[in-house]
Structure formats: C-alpha cells, structure tokens
C-alpha cells in the first residue's frame, strides 16, 4: 500500500493537468487507467473539479445573439417532433396509382385484383371498418393576402395544409401553423416555402373542437404566441 500511496502523491501534478484538460492522449489514458482502480485519486480529482468549474465564470460575460437561440431551437424542434417540420409535397394518390396501372406488366394484375376486391367488398359489406374520410377545405386569405390560396386536407384528427403563392419571407423567418380553439391559438408547426412559393405543411392533431387552422409569419424557430396577423384561415 505504501507504494500505491507514493504513486498517488507523485500523480498529484498530473491530476491537476488532467483536470485542466492539459494531458496529451497517452498520458491521459495512463492516468485514467490509474483512476479506474484508485479511489483516493478519484476523490482528489473530485475535490479539484470546483476550481476548474469556476474558470468559465471568470470570462467576460456576453449576450449571445438572439438568432443563435432561434436557429438552435428550430433544429431541436425539428428533431423533437418530426411531424413539426414541413412535410414534403406529396404526389396525389390517384397519380401514383395511375403510374402503376399504366405499366403493362402490372395492368392485368391490377385488373384482376380490382375484380376480386370488388367481389370481396360486396361479400364483406357491412363488416368492414371504414377508413377515415378525407375532407378538403378551401382556406380564406386574410389581411390583404389576396394572392394566397390554400387547401386543408383533413384526414381524421390531423391534416395537411397545401399553400400556394405565399409571399416570400426573410431567411430569419418561418411560417407557423396554428389551431384556434376557444379563441386560443395553439402552435402546431412551422414551414418554409419551396422556390415557387408553395408548401405542404403537416398539421398535427388534435383538431377536434378547433375552430380554424391559421398561418402567421414568425421568427425562425417559431413562436409560442402569434406575433403577426394571420394571412389565411381554414375553418375546421
């Protein structure tokens, strides 16, 4: 034990350098191997750590630019809720189906499936659970945004908002989707425009009990409360 103690005393300088991040890779690895089996040195390192923790507080304290928070939160919110980012424009279902049917090799198979499917559907009528119906609602431009057109495609308790000819926004801005419920605006999503001024934005539920889906311009990262007047509204 006396040898171990002497070794620990000899390592005190190394521990200080380690706490400051000033040991090179091989020296750091050797010390960490020692720390794995030496509680005394671990205790000394813990004892030193508040001194190192104090160092960042010694620098002049600056205010980070607000865009740093906005950019960071935009990235974080996109990862926190994948549905909270602009959804890519989807190909209409009938166009996709038409593409498949038009292939010669699949055309006959589809025809057979259709016949079988219609027959089966007839036999099973009344026992099937219906898929949620899709409703299309035309949005109304507000506050002078006369060129804007938008359609809300609602399926069940969520929706996709298809917008066209929205005014371009600055790089540090986004459009934000809201659900108005009992007069309260609930933030749902942010999106930016494609080059042609269009976008398809997911509108996560719940939508039941809501009065309308609205869109405003907001700083990047979105807002918790609208900071501008809505430019369109789609009734729910």
């Amino acid at each position: 034990m006396s040898n171990e103690r002497e070794e620990c005393v000899a390592l005190r300088d190394d521990l200080a350098a380690y706490a400051l991040g000033a040991l090179a890779g091989d020296e750091m690895a050797a010390l960490e191997r020692h720390l794995d089996s030496c509680e005394a040195c671990c205790a000394r390192l813990r004892w030193l750590s508040p001194a190192v923790d104090l160092l960042p507080a010694a620098v002049e304290q600056l205010s980070p630019p607000p865009r740093l928070r906005a950019n960071l939160m935009e990235a974080v919110r996109a990862e926190a809720a994948p549905t909270a980012v602009a959804a890519p424009a989807r190909e209409p279902w009938w166009r996709a189906v038409r593409g498949v049917i038009m292939r010669p090799a699949t055309g006959m198979a589809v025809l057979i499936l259709l016949v079988v499917g219609v027959g089966a559907g007839y036999l099973l009528r009344g026992s099937q659970t219906e898929a949620p119906a899709t409703q299309l609602v035309q949005a109304e431009p507000l506050n002078g945004a006369a060129t804007v057109s938008a359609t809300l495609e609602r399926t069940g308790d969520s929706a996709t908002l298809h917008v066209h000819q929205l005014p371009a926004i600055a790089e540090d801005e986004v459009y934000e989707v809201w659900v108005q419920r009992d007069g309260v605006m609930e933030p749902r999503n942010t999106f930016v425009l494609d080059q042609d001024g269009s976008a398809a934005a997911a509108v996560p539920g719940p939508l039941d009990g809501g009065e309308a889906v609205l869109v405003t311009r907001e700083p990047r990262g979105g807002s918790r409360q609208p900071t501008t007047d809505p430019i369109l509204s789609a009734p729910l």
Partner: protein, 216 residues
C-alpha cells in the same frame, strides 16, 4: 434531484409541463425531459447556460461568428447526447461548458493552426447594454463573473498563466513548457498549486457547489 433515466417526481410521463413548471425544475430534472426529446425543457437549459457558453466560446476562439457556431454545435450535442449526462460526475453546467470548451478548442486549432491569443480584450466586444437593459439572470451572471475575475486576480501570475494557457488556450502541459521554456514538472506544479489555491480559497468564497471536504 432526479437521476437521469427516471421520471421527475410527481410528473407523469405523458403530461406536458407548462413553461412556468419547467422554469422551476432543477437542471438535472430538465435533462431527464431532454432525454425524452422535450424541446421546451431544452430551451430552459439553453436560457440558463447559453450566455455562459457563448462567453466561454468567445473567450477561447476570439471570434463572434465562430463562437456562435461552437455554441450551437455544443448545445446540439447536449440535445442529442442528453442520455449520456451523469449527475454523479458533475453538474449540467459543468458538463455543458466542458463540451463547449472542447468544441471551441477544436475550432481554434482548425482555424488558426497556431498559438491562440490569450490576451483578448473582452471588454471591447461587450455589447453596449446597460444594467437596466439586462435581464436579472444576465446581470447576476455578469456580477458573478466580475467577482470571480477579481478573485482569480489574486493568484500568482505564473500560476494563472499556465492555467489560462491550458484551459482557455487548449495547450497541453508539454506545449506550455516548450512555449515558456521551463521544465515540465514546473508547469504541472504551477497548475496544481494554482488550482489548489482556487479550490481552497476562491471557490469557497464564491459559493461554488462541490465536495468540500479537505483532503489530507
């Protein structure tokens, strides 16, 4: 305090906390929510430590744009690796600022490839905000910083020099020894003496949390 991986006491997992409730949580409890991908909890962590992180990054890299990038990268890392936070090994602030320091040192080495400046005039870039314009937390942060700097000024210059070169400059003790033309043992000895002095006198005066037992 709640250890990472467990649900905060009294907070059902599925319940979304209000902004006020989040503000009342300790950092360690917020990290539990961050681990569950709670962006609002992460925003509170940023609001508490983003200023200190940006200031540290700027102190190391000496460039506001790079400091901004470093701070953003570091907090993204905190967001994505929140599960790796271990409260037993230190505070959220220490962990976060450690990530910021490492990223800043990396950026410094990439950008300069040479010895970094260590005599930056931070006052020259301090934003022209009056005390009345600062939020309470920012004002407290700056007052704490002023007191800490004053206290560190009591260290012998040769000790604060090697500590500054190591911590803010990212130099190893071998590089510092070469730079200052002194034996390795002298550099490491000054680091130890300086840290011990901070630990024994300055940190206690500043009320820094930590294990305070005096080692034999």
């Amino acid at each position: 305090m709640i250890r990472p991986g467990s649900a905060p006491v009294g907070i059902p997992v599925a319940e979304k906390l209000t902004p006020d409730a989040l503000q009342r949580l300790a950092d360690e409890d917020l990290m539990t929510l961050v681990e569950r991908r709670d962006a609002d909890a992460f925003a509170v962590i940023y609001d508490r430590h983003g200023g200190g992180a940006y200031s540290l990054a700027y102190r190391i890299v000496g460039d506001s744009a790079i400091a901004e990038d470093v701070t953003q990268e570091a907090f993204i890392s905190v967001w994505r690796s929140g599960a790796r936070f271990d409260a037993a090994r230190g505070s959220v602030r220490s962990w976060t600022l450690g990530i910021v320091r490492n990223r800043a040192i990396d950026a410094l080495r990439r950008a300069s490839g040479s010895a970094p400046k260590l005599d930056l005039d931070d006052d020259a870039v301090l934003e022209s905000q009056t005390a009345a314009e600062l939020t309470d937390s920012e004002a407290i942060r700056r007052e704490t910083s002023r007191r800490v700097r004053g206290a560190l000024g009591e260290l012998p210059a040769e000790q604060s020099e090697v500590i500054g070169l190591a911590y803010f400059g990212g130099f190893t003790h071998r590089e510092i020894a070469e730079m200052l033309g002194m034996p390795l043992g002298t550099v490491k000895g000054r680091m130890r003496l300086g840290l011990e002095k901070i630990r024994l006198t300055l940190a206690e005066r500043m009320g820094i949390e930590g294990p305070w037992e005096v080692l034999p």
